[in-house]
């Protein structure tokens, strides 16, 4: 039951659950980017685990590296957008931003 790979799978599912919960309850734009980071960390772990399970570790690692690069770009652009939104609209609250015009 508690083999190492099972424990990692439980960890991945737990991290995904916490991430989904965060996406539902978070309203701050910067925090949304942080929650996406948590979800991506779970995905990276799942990809490496899948590589280990299938006996194809090289493919798992290279896919995880690709996801890591894309995730970093998402974080960087998301934070830059959040800063610009704050400068333009004066708020980071997602429901308020979605009702604004201009």
């Amino acid at each position: 039951m508690f083999t190492p790979l099972n424990v990692i799978l439980f960890g991945v599912v737990g991290l995904l659950g916490v991430g989904f919960y965060g996406l539902l309850i978070t309203r701050n734009l910067i925090k949304v980017v942080m929650v996406l980071q948590i979800l991506i960390k779970a995905v990276i772990l799942a990809l490496v685990l899948a590589g280990k399970l299938s006996g194809n570790m090289g493919l798992g690692i290279s896919t995880a590296a690709t996801v890591l690069v894309a995730d970093t770009i998402v974080a960087v652009v998301g934070l830059a957008l959040a800063v610009q939104v704050r400068r333009r609209f004066g708020t980071l609250d997602v429901p308020k931003i979605s009702t604004l015009r201009g």
Partner: protein
């Protein structure tokens, strides 16, 4: 012994993730996010993915943390998370159901024995997935250019200078 190590690292990561989500101050949440990165990279290292562990530690716990602190310093007073729109118990129940379903769907994959067809990382990355490498390079350049454009301060136009 190995299971206990993985369990401790991942329980720590889940605890930090929960604290990062529920903490009101975004600066505290940033520190918790860096802790998650460190714990996940330790787990990746134990799994045998040392390359990804190093990238995760340097990028996740380093670069992204610095960027988050910069963003918090820029937004200042707005760095507080307001109360959620969806009631938290409802969100908890929904996420619990999804997580349990995900666990039931993913658990049989662990038991499956797939034949070993190991490919070296260099071959997988530079030969089988060479298109992805080029896309990554393009992605990095586009990210840098996007950030330069987005973070640039608005310079006063010629007409504004004349009025002044």
């Amino acid at each position: 012994m190995e299971s206990i190590q993985y369990g401790l690292f991942l329980l720590g990561a889940i605890f930090c993730a929960y604290r990062a989500i529920v903490s009101k101050k975004i600066l505290s949440a940033t520190i918790y996010l860096a802790c998650i990165s460190a714990l996940v990279s330790a787990t990746l290292y134990l799994l045998g993915a040392a390359q990804v562990a190093v990238m995760e530690l340097s990028v996740g716990a380093g670069l992204v943390t610095v960027l988050l602190v910069y963003a918090v310093s820029v937004v200042g007073d707005d760095a507080l998370d307001p109360a959620s729109v969806i009631p938290k118990p409802l969100a908890f129940v929904l996420v619990g159901m999804v997580t349990i379903l995900l666990g039931f769907m993913a658990f049989p994959a662990i038991q499956t024995n797939i034949e070993n067809s190991s490919i070296a990382l260099a071959i997988a990355l530079w030969q089988n997935r060479v298109l992805d490498v080029w896309i990554q390079i393009a992605l990095i350049f586009s990210g840098v250019m996007g950030v330069l454009g987005l973070l640039s301060e608005k310079t006063p136009g010629r007409t504004e200078e004349i009025h002044q």
